[in-house]
């Protein structure tokens, strides 16, 4: 049964995920070329000065990519379920509703996670090509809130799409945007290091929360 559930989710997101993969790869290639170009037209000392004295981030091109990807994957997964009330078809399947919804979001989060992993690995490799590995580790830690933004955008969009009540949908959308804005307050290196565990814990609460709109969808009057 799990295979069938995954098959359906894959069929829904395969084009979107494939396109997202190309965009992520494209952005990493762009980042690589931009970095190489910088080192060709500027002295290394100048780039070092920008990066570590003026504390300018050199890889902001990928900052909003995870959040955008999370929202798009959620829309591809749950948009078709909500159109015309197709969610009822899934709720009639002989599977526990909560396990079904968690399987869906588990798959969606995994596919988003693969892209986040690609971003992280790509960023580490690109930075470590020109800088010491400490700088690459710092780049990863700096990018962590951006990657967490992907998780928040995915689950926030999922909540807003599954929710049958318009008022609650607006609340979910507002909370998601507020959370994303909170993750977008930093403009330097590793500014979220001390708060990341708490923010991650808060973002993890979105995982059980998706059951609520699904429950309300089934049990509305």
């Amino acid at each position: 049964m799990l295979g069938a559930i995954i098959l359906k989710e894959w069929l829904k997101i395969r084009w979107v995920w494939g396109a997202a993969l190309l965009v992520h790869l494209g952005m990493l290639v762009y980042l690589l070329l931009a970095m190489r170009h910088q080192f060709q037209v500027e002295h290394s000392e100048m780039i070092w000065y920008w990066a570590f004295e003026l504390r300018r981030l050199l890889y902001t091109q990928i900052q909003y990519l995870p959040a955008l990807t999370g929202a798009v994957i959620a829309a591809a997964q749950f948009g078709p379920e909500m159109l015309g009330g197709r969610f009822r078809l899934s709720l009639h399947l002989p599977v526990r509703g909560d396990l079904l919804v968690w399987s869906w979001v588990g798959f969606g989060a995994l596919m988003g996670g693969l892209l986040a992993l690609l971003d992280g690995a790509g960023l580490y490799w690109i930075i470590s090509t020109w800088f010491p590995h400490e700088a690459a580790e710092s780049a990863l830690l700096t990018a962590l809130p951006w990657l967490l933004g992907g998780w928040v955008a995915y689950f926030g969009t999922t909540l807003a799409l599954l929710e049958p009540s318009r008022a609650r949908r607006a609340v979910y959308a507002g909370l998601t945007l507020a959370f994303l804005a909170l993750l977008d307050q930093g403009h330097g290196y590793q500014e979220y290091d001390r708060i990341m565990p708490q923010l991650t814990g808060l973002a993890l609460l979105l995982l059980p929360a998706v059951i609520l709109p699904a429950h309300r969808y089934r049990h509305r009057s």
Binding site: K8, P80, G84, G85, R88, L89, P94, R220
Partner: protein
């Protein structure tokens, strides 16, 4: 045999009355569907109040009613997608709002408009459904969809309404459920495919022990298919009868009036149709009874001959044209 239960218990804060209707009908058949005094509202509008009926196991029951009486809403209530304001619905012995996965596997559900996953192909949708149902009959699905003459890679979203309906009905037959709930199965099907569906449904019923609860706008199909009919009218008035009893007892008579008003529906006259050519009145009564009733209450009205009716005529006679 469980005959239901009624009791009134006194508490310090007042009396609470319990009434649980029996799940066995007067033929001794268990109910596959048991709707007990449900009330449902959309905002201020009450769609039903204290609506009750049963669908006995092994029977084919049609829910008939004009547009807007709440047939689809009733099916949503039965499948637990809506919660009634009052009363209860039980399906295969379980609360409709809390059907276990095992019970859902025993119910084949056709949602209005042949709702399905448009992003899947003919082959993918069968592959998706198969693992959920242990008694899956793949050959029935492919027997139906092969008639479409489309490649298995054809996407459902690119099909016509009739083609899509055939895929969806094929999935329900392949599931081989104990209970089929079909909301307007005939939508988008041409006469040939409707007949094909009825043939398949007959084969399904011939296995024995199968129950079908069906709504349709094509009333004439019901004539050869169903055992019982439930007529649902606006406001939630409901009439449930064996189809044979209904065909035998519900009568249509021509009438003429001599300068007086036409008769109006009352305790005996079910409805009166003065639109179109010949005025007609409908009643669950034989000629003698109607003549006597007219002579007593509508002396200016002369009863004409009894007119033969199709099931569709009788449906319109019962629910009205408009």
């Amino acid at each position: 045999m469980w005959d239901g239960y009624e009791a009134e218990w006194d508490y310090p804060f007042g009396a609470i009355r319990f009434a649980i209707a029996p799940y066995v009908d007067d033929r001794g058949k268990m109910s596959a569907i048991h709707v007990d005094r449900i009330t449902h509202r959309y905002g201020q509008r009450t769609l039903y109040r204290d609506l009750s009926f049963r669908v006995p196991e092994g029977r084919v029951v049609a829910l008939l009613g004009k547009n807007g009486v709440g047939k689809t809403t009733l099916i949503r209530l039965l499948m637990g997608f809506l919660r009634p304001s009052g009363g209860s619905c039980r399906v295969l012995g379980e609360d409709a709002h809390d059907l276990s996965p095992a019970t859902r596997a025993r119910i084949g559900l056709l949602l209005e408009g042949h709702l399905t996953y448009d992003f899947m192909s003919i082959e993918q949708i069968e592959r998706f459904h198969r693992p959920f149902y242990p008694g899956w009959r793949r050959e029935l699905y492919y027997d139906l969809v092969d008639r479409l003459g489309l490649p298995y890679s054809h996407k459902i979203g690119n099909m016509s309404c009739g083609q899509r309906s055939q895929v969806v009905l094929g999935l329900i037959f392949a599931q081989n459920p104990e209970l089929m709930i079909l909301d307007d199965y005939s939508m988008g099907l041409d006469a040939g495919y409707r007949r094909l569906f009825l043939d398949y449904l007959q084969d399904y019923l011939n296995q024995g022990g199968k129950t079908v609860f069906v709504t349709s706008h094509v009333v004439q199909d019901m004539e050869s298919l169903v055992d019982e009919v439930i007529f649902l009218q606006r406001g939630g008035e409901l009439l449930q009868m064996d189809l044979a009893d209904f065909r035998r007892d519900y009568r249509c008579y021509a009438f003429e009036r001599e300068g007086t008003e036409p008769p109006r529906p009352d305790a005996l006259i079910r409805s009166v149709d003065t639109h179109g050519g010949q005025p007609r009145l409908y009643a669950f009564a034989e000629r003698d009874g109607v003549e006597k009733h007219l002579a007593e209450h509508w002396p200016g009205v002369r009863l004409g001959e009894e007119l033969a009716m199709t099931l569709e005529d009788a449906f319109i006679g019962l629910t009205g044209k408009y």
